[in-house]
Symmetry: C2
Amino acid sequence: MRKNAKFDRAEVVDNATRLYWEKGFNGTSMRNLQDVIDMRPGSIYATFGSKEGLFKEALNRYTEMGIEELRRCRVHSSSPLVALNVFMRNVVLDYANKAPNRMCMLAKTMGELTQDTPELLKEAKRLLAKVEAEFVTLLQEAQDLGELDSTKNVATLARHIQVQTMGLRTYAKACDNQEELETMVDDVFKHHPF
Amino acid sequence: MRKNAKFDRAEVVDNATRLYWEKGFNGTSMRNLQDVIDMRPGSIYATFGSKEGLFKEALNRYTEMGIEELRRCRVHSSSPLVALNVFMRNVVLDYANKAPNRMCMLAKTMGELTQDTPELLKEAKRLLAKVEAEFVTLLQEAQDLGELDSTKNVATLARHIQVQTMGLRTYAKACDNQEELETMVDDVFKHHPF
DNA sequence: GATAAAATTGAACGGTCGTTCAAATTATAT
DNA sequence: ATATAATTTGAACGACCGTTCAATTTTATC
């Protein structure tokens, strides 16, 4: 007596995330979304509730992808700090062609949204904190392994990585100078507060 | 036989800039603008050509305001590097309540816009470069006065300040921790590459 | 005061927006 | 095969979008 949804929710959210990441919340229309996720309005609203609801899910998917990538970097790297360096090179340098947008979707969202959509703003902040916590975990591991001086404050370092990454990705979109960017990424780990 | 415009163009652009800065290009409607600048559609279009035209002028006004503020900081400071520090404290810390948005309008614009509006994107990049050039001028002065080691590359330092400022302002909007932010601003000038 | 050019007004345009919902379709359990 | 309930469809809604332009108002000049 039941009929199950035939679309692949993960795939749909992936496509929506890509579009939202590229064009932003205000820059993306429901009709744009209908096209890329191949669903009709009724289905979209039955599944996600609203344009905001789908965006919220996209923000979460984006963050999940980022954290997965960070963990992949860890697996393929010889140490936590090398993994962090590789991850930062990825997002600052290699996203140039691969990603829908050079900038961090969470940073973009922080810039675009106001108190007109308080829940989305809150969600973006929450997810940025989640990413930062993931950095903390990796830095903690670095300390445990003796790669990082045990006197360092991992919370401070994680915050520092957030600021550097968001700053560099914004700068990268405005002025793409691969060599200089590469130097700046590497410098993050060579100097204070590391 | 002529009739001169009765509105104050500078004041109009100021008000438009404030609104655009707060809500972004896509988040601001012409009707929102009509309200805050107190002009009717016909007059706006006769004066600025389009929503994009007015935004372009707002970007320029925003940049002009920023550069003026930087120069004010220089006048009221004992040295170029102190002036840079004061300026950064202003935009990162004091804008919390004063400004329409904690983030840099140019950075916000870089995040929001795509190749759908290539001229606005180009203009934002151009203006970011202009700000960077202003930093170079100040750093050059610091070198001339012996406040800054003459072996330092002023272009590199200016780029560094851009990245730090944009990163910190984005972070500040996501997670307002005044004390930590203050430390991070001051650290910019205490450590590499300074 | 008459003239004419410039500036201003605001109704209106076609289009797109986010969203709804009655109707059609589908897949399962009997 | 039939009944049933979940899912899907897409036309339609009212609101708002950026923009236009004929009509009106204003003001410097003679």
